[in-house]
């Protein structure tokens, strides 16, 4: 039997007829399939250890030394280390989620995703899970090394809530990443410039290196709009219980609820935008076609 022959369907009509279980299984496999290059990539390119861990860790260390020079309260060192760990996720959102569909189009992958019998949401979920794996490793290294090196003492009373807030932050953050991915593609602008434009401002208003409450009104706006800001504020409250400097803009449980809303909103919005992208791609002949 020829090596080309795999599994036969007796007619195209039969081959096209999938039950619900097979359809769902294919979506789940697509998530895994698209996550795979990122999971493998983390192993296969050792240079990422330098660029993704060591260099950003130097920035975190710089803030630690500034706070120490100013005799700032010890919790501030912890705030910076926690913020440094969370930086990994925002960078991943910008460069490997938001800009990704734009680049996938140029590579010709987007066209293949559209012609496969899967939802683009599965592709984005796959990217998100793969990205979470990569960034999670980096964040864990920064957190562990930073906490050990700079003697950070965490004071956690509600571990479950802290974990829940972390995962809700990830859901909202990667939901935003999915929305941005669609937006970058639709905008037709250079993804590189858009990512650059969003990187530092979000660092600042999210309070990566200081409690966001210190920003006053701007901090409140950030809490209401940026998952990183609200997630970090809630995590600081839960990781440094008893610190007078860890007061959040809102109580942690309330911020957790905001994160639930954000996750639902962003994932729903991403789904809607992907539908719009496919419609536009088919009607106008742009987006999926390289060079248009």
């Amino acid at each position: 039997m020829s090596a080309f022959v795999f599994r036969h369907s007796e007619s195209p009509e039969q081959a096209a007829r999938w039950d619900r279980r097979r359809s769902l299984a294919t979506q789940l496999r697509s998530v895994y399939g698209r996550a795979y290059p990122r999971i493998i990539g983390a192993r296969r390119e050792p240079s990422w250890l330098l660029f993704e861990i060591l260099l950003p860790f130097l920035t975190t260390s710089a803030f630690v030394f500034v706070y120490r020079a100013l005799d700032a309260p010890a919790e501030f060192i912890g705030f910076v280390v926690l913020g440094g760990a969370m930086t990994a996720f925002w960078l991943n959102i910008l460069w490997m989620m938001a800009a990704q569909l734009y680049w996938e189009r140029d590579q010709g992958n987007l066209e293949l995703y559209f012609t496969a019998p899967i939802s683009m949401m599965s592709i984005l979920f796959g990217m998100a899970i793969g990205g979470l794996f990569m960034s999670g490793t980096r964040a864990a290294v920064v957190l562990i090394v930073g906490a050990t090196l700079y003697d950070v003492v965490f004071a956690v009373e509600q571990w479950l809530l802290l974990l829940a807030v972390f995962f809700l932050t990830m859901a909202a953050l990667y939901g935003l990443g999915m929305v941005l991915a669609s937006f970058f593609l639709l905008s037709g602008r250079e993804a590189w410039h858009l990512s650059q434009g969003l990187q530092e401002p979000v660092y600042f208003v999210s309070g990566l290196n200081f409690p966001v409450a210190r920003l006053g009104m701007l901090g409140a706006v950030a809490i209401a709009t940026i998952p990183l800001a609200v997630g970090l504020d809630a995590m600081r409250q839960l990781a440094f219980v008893g610190s007078e400097h860890a007061d959040g803009v809102l109580p942690a449980w309330m911020e957790a609820l905001i994160l639930v809303g954000m996750a639902a909103l962003f994932i729903g919005l991403a789904r809607w935008m992907l539908g719009q992208i496919e419609r536009l791609a088919r009607v106008e002949g742009k987006l999926t076609v390289k060079g248009t």
Partner: protein, 380 residues
Amino acid sequence: MRAACRGIGEPAPMKGPRRYGRFARPHAQRYHRELIVSVSPTSLAIDARAVRRVYKAKPEPIVALDGVDLQVEPGELFGLLGPNGAGKTTLIKVLTTLLLPTSGTARVFGFDVARQTTELRRIMNIVSGGEQSGYGLLHVREQLWMFSQFYGLGVRDGWRRVDQLIEAVGLTEQRLQKVSSLSTGQRQKLNLARGLLNDPWILFLDEPTLGLDVSAARQTRELVQQWQRALPGRTILLTSHYMAEVDELCDRLAIVDRGRILASGTSAELKRRVQRESIFLLEVDRLPGGHQALAAVRGVLSAVEPTAHDLGSAADRQTVSVKLTLDDDAALGGVVGELGRMGASIVALAKSEPTLEDVFVELVGRGFAEREQEPAEKVR
């Protein structure tokens, strides 16, 4: 008549359709009946009717497809031949659900390309020339496995299928090599393997040998033929602007220009449109009666000394060459008899065929290269 033509609309008989290959036709009919609600009652692999596609552009919209009618039978290897910008890729994008037709309808195995995209995507695949899809850091094996997951192959089934295809396309040695390190030819083999992962009933090949060297292009063509031989019911729609490729591979073809199908049929049928007489190049050791003696044979329209262009490599030989124009191939018997009477021996005899380029020139009035220099068609 399955391929409707615009411009020259002459019906063209075709090779016997292979239908659903080794599987009994009653199967297809049974499933067809079961799905009668969702699938159009047709046995055609491709059925495009009056498909028009206009792109928005400034200052004027561009007509990429202008009322294309195309019918392709299951099991056919059908070629779309035309210069760059003729509308071949746009038609493929419409048929693969990437583009909606501005007007007209198109069905692939009965599935409407506008409305039944999910079903259609399960049974088709597409491979383009110069494709750089996937991720360079993955190994060949991993890249194919990743794509297999998008078609619902289980984890183990996926790996098994990938290994089979790697062997089939001849990438066994490169299976653990990074995709980024493959040569262009190897890369195209990988793309072809990707296109076969889901065991498609219809495979769209958009300029599959574009940018490949002669050897790699030949290997790609051989793989395409091997695949179709292994699974006879499968259909291929191939676009190309390489005439020899279409001539060699395709059961039937359509010549496309400015978004219209100008003519379609088998390669031989199309060539017959530009040449109704039979032309032979005859090479003999001597010709005592001269060219006139052959011209007098019944059925011979002319017997003349060929030009250097006609002769090619035979020009330097110490023989006598004759360009024979016959009203029918059967007249050749009389020529051979006359040569025998003269005591001449035949050194070589070759039938001179027109090329598809000749057909294109006849239909369009210009060659491919000249046509590609012209601006795109604007909307009227």
